[in-house]
């Protein structure tokens, strides 16, 4: 059972499958390896299988097939309470009938730790999340953000090597959420804890994680660091799901020297980088980030194809301008430009020409 594997793999999913009803798979052939100390986020729409994966790792669900290993040891048959994994729940799950200090003391008590040691650890953990003076209160007397900190402290107080977080910031308002995102990553890195974080909020995933696993349809669509995920999505789902994105559809005319010539459905030609397309004639969906679109003729590269566009709407958003265009029949083509002194403010009805670096235009599966 306990077959040790590669040295830097701390958490491993190997060919894991999960089905609840015996008819459909919620998780299909999941393979994932995490080194120690990594902050990994499972991101995906609801029903994509990310929470199921987390629950299998925690031990609340059993894998239908495959192996889950922790520090090289298969944990399929180890009950949750023996896995030593800290967990933060979506609703915090602070025990309402215990004080904050009792909540934190609970995991230490069940580990038969002495009283003085317990008190010391509880105090340290509460200080760590800046809740040192709240030990005597009940969870209901705390605000959402405070409960969140306590839940975090409770998951960490028994010093687990792995901490799982299931959408822990979902119930907080935006400002608090951003503050907590920072604090959680900071703590995780400071303590060197391996963290698996589940969210459906891509901003959260991008700002917090070392690596992000994008889930859809029971599979990991792409597993990569945030910048790579954003800038080099490997398929159109990831491109769509992460960040804002313009798509145009067409057919590959030619591929050579790492360049693909794409003929859009309206007949226009553009230059792109082929990602998961292989041969001419294949349908493709090209993806261009709004901030990589250029309409200042002076800055366009020589020799690349440009497209005609009509300005439909100009939205002033403070730090940026957001302009909606009609491009090759697509009326939702967005460009974002920085609000700089020399920036041109486009007017609705204006006819312009747009272009981009071929590397910024990614030809993906249709």
């Amino acid at each position: 059972m306990a077959n040790k594997t590669s040295n830097d793999a701390f958490v491993e999913f190997e060919r894991v499958q999960k089905s609840y009803d015996g008819e459909t798979l919620v998780v299909k052939d999941l393979n994932l390896t995490m080194p120690k100390g990594e902050f990994l986020t499972m991101l995906g729409p609801s029903g994509s299988g990310k929470t199921t994966c987390l629950m299998m790792l925690a031990g609340f669900e059993t894998a239908t097939h495959g192996d889950i290993r922790l520090d090289g040891v298969s944990i399929n048959n180890i009950p949750p309470h023996k896995r030593g994994i800290g967990m933060v729940f979506q609703n915090y799950a602070l025990f309402p009938h215990m004080t904050i200090a009792e909540n934190l003391s609970f995991p230490l008590e069940v580990r038969k730790m002495g009283k003085s040691e317990r008190e010391e650890k509880v105090k340290r953990a509460l200080d760590m999340v800046e809740m040192g003076s709240f030990g005597g209160r009940r969870p209901a007397q705390l605000s959402g953000g405070q409960q969140q900190r306590v839940a975090l402290a409770r998951a960490l107080v028994f010093e687990p090597e792995l901490v799982l977080m299931d959408e822990p910031l979902g119930a907080l308002d935006k400002q608090l959420r951003e503050k907590m995102q920072f604090e959680i990553t900071h703590l995780a890195h400071e303590l060197g804890i391996t963290t698996v974080y589940v969210t459906h909020d891509q901003t959260e995933a991008l700002t917090m994680s070392d690596r992000v696993a994008v889930f859809d349809d029971g599979r990991i669509q792409q597993l990569a660091p945030p910048d790579e995920l954003y800038e080099q999505p490997q398929n159109s789902f990831v491109a769509q799901f992460i960040g804002e994105n313009n798509t145009l559809e067409g057919v590959i005319k030619d591929i050579k020297d790492g360049r693909a010539l794409v003929q859009l459905d309206g007949g226009e030609l553009i230059d792109c980088k082929p990602i998961n397309v292989s041969k001419p004639g294949e349908r493709t969906r090209v993806s261009i980030r709004p901030e990589r679109v250029e309409y200042n003729k002076d800055r366009l590269q020589e020799g690349v194809h440009t497209l005609k566009a009509e300005v439909l709407e100009f939205i002033y958003m403070g730090d940026i301008f957001r302009t909606r265009l009609r491009v090759a029949g697509n009326e939702d083509f967005i460009i974002k430009t920085r609000n700089a002194p020399d920036q041109v403010r486009l007017q609705p009805g204006q006819q312009i020409e747009i272009g981009w670096l071929p590397d910024d235009c990614r030809a993906l599966d249709a």
Partner: protein, 423 residues
């Protein structure tokens, strides 16, 4: 204080002091709220508070003696009850005058019945004397002592006169003494003879059995409520119908069904004999005793335990158990330290419901209780409907009410009444 005195009261826009303005606005709100609850308030007052007040009053009320026999009560004031001698002619003369008036109003037998609760035989003394006294001339005839003794020798018994004297005050503690197995002796309250003591035993038994019934409801109901709360709602609703099914069956039918099940020639005994677990001539006695009462009442009251427990358990998020396990607790520790404390309010609510219902139950104990499974409420019902001793019934009821309130108070001290939830 001094600030407002200096600057004067704060004024509202129209110049009236702000405080008065506010009070008026609030008074309107209060009036409206009061109007809304008025129908309920009146309903509760008429159907609940007044009857209870009436009952409390009946348990000490005793005007009938001094109202019906005013002259006799005055005449008896000088008589020494401990002398062991029949009172003098003056008392008999007063009694003749009182009885003649009472007999004309046909109320003489009523006071006879009242005094008969204290000393057997007085009822017929009054009934017989009432018939004769109508023809007497209360001014001219005499001596009345002989005339009364002619009607019945019982009038010569000093005990009869002592009873009249003892129960002449307008208020009495006699009913309460009786309810506590005591009586008014010549030297104040004393215990009744051993062979007449019954209420103390019945109070103890009622409390004990109600507690046992409550405990068995908890033991049987908790797992059921737990399963219901953790099943998908469709299945849970289906099972809930099974839990509620007994509610839709008549109480008498259910109790009779238990008789059929538990009696010696009943289903369970037949099965045990058939299985060879019990000899045919040693069939188990499971009905007409405490066991039968506990079984039947647990069954009848179980839904009252399951429902509040279920609705409280439904509100307990399953993630608490998961959290506890992820923190290293075994299944049992997670249940005992995390789930169970959160379900206590449901147990509390269910227990209070079941206990209070059980303590006042009388139909089921009457039918399956035999001699050892009878509750105090059976005696209360008896005194209300058969012996017509409503004063004693009221005293027993008052004691029961006080006992329940004391237990409620104790429960509040130990568990805390805020810790009771119906969901």
């Amino acid at each position: 204080m001094s600030d407002t005195a200096k600057s004067g009261p704060v004024l509202a826009a129209d110049g009236t002091p702000l405080k008065r303005s506010l009070a008026r606005a609030l008074r309107m709100q209060k009036m409206r709220a009061l109007m809304l609850i008025a129908p309920l308030l009146i309903f509760v007052l008429v159907t609940f508070i007044l009857p209870i007040a009436d009952m409390l009053f009946r348990s000490v009320e005793n005007q009938i003696v001094s109202d019906t026999l005013p002259r006799t009560v005055v005449a008896l004031e000088d008589w020494d009850a401990t002398s062991g001698e029949t009172p003098g002619e003056a008392v008999f003369k007063a009694m003749a005058a009182d009885l003649q008036e009472a007999a004309a109003a046909k109320i003489h037998t009523r006071v006879g019945s009242r005094l008969n609760y204290e000393t057997p035989g007085i009822s017929s003394l009054f009934r017989k004397a009432g018939r004769k006294v109508k023809k007497w001339d209360v001014e001219g005839d005499g001596p009345f002592k002989e005339m009364f003794l002619e009607v019945d020798d019982g009038w010569g018994d000093p005990d009869v006169w002592r009873t009249i004297q003892t129960y002449s005050p307008r208020l009495t503690n006699g009913y309460f003494l009786n309810a506590a197995d005591m009586q008014k002796g010549p030297d104040g309250p004393e215990m009744r003879p051993e062979n007449e003591r019954i209420y103390w035993v019945l109070f103890q038994r009622t409390l004990f059995m109600s507690l046992v019934i409550t405990a068995s409801c908890i033991l049987l109901g908790y797992p059921v409520a737990w399963i219901l709360a953790n099943l998908p709602s469709r299945t849970a609703n289906l099972l809930m119908i099974l839990v509620l099914l007994p509610f839709w069956t008549s109480l008498l039918v259910r109790t009779s069904a238990w008789k059929v099940m538990l009696q010696q020639q009943g289903v369970i005994n037949d099965t045990l004999v058939w299985l060879g677990l019990v000899a045919d001539d040693a069939r188990l006695v499971m009905i007409n005793n405490q066991f039968g009462t506990i079984v039947a009442m647990t069954h009848i009251l179980l839904p009252f335990m399951i429902l509040p427990m279920y609705s409280v358990m439904q509100t307990i998020n399953p993630s608490y158990l998961r959290a506890a396990k992820s923190l290293g607790a075994t299944n049992w520790t997670a249940f005992w330290r995390v789930y169970f404390p959160q379900s206590v309010p449901g147990i509390g609510a269910g227990s209070i419901l079941v206990f209070i219902l059980a303590i006042g139950y009388y139909i089921t104990p009457e039918l399956v209780g035999g001699t050892k499974g009878v509750f105090i409420s059976n005696r209360i019902a008896f005194h209300i409907s058969s012996s017509l001793n409503w004063g004693l019934a009221a005293a027993l009821g008052t004691i029961l009410l006080v006992v329940v309130l004391i237990l409620y108070w104790a429960y509040d001290k130990i568990v805390g009444i805020d810790n009771v939830k119906l969901g």
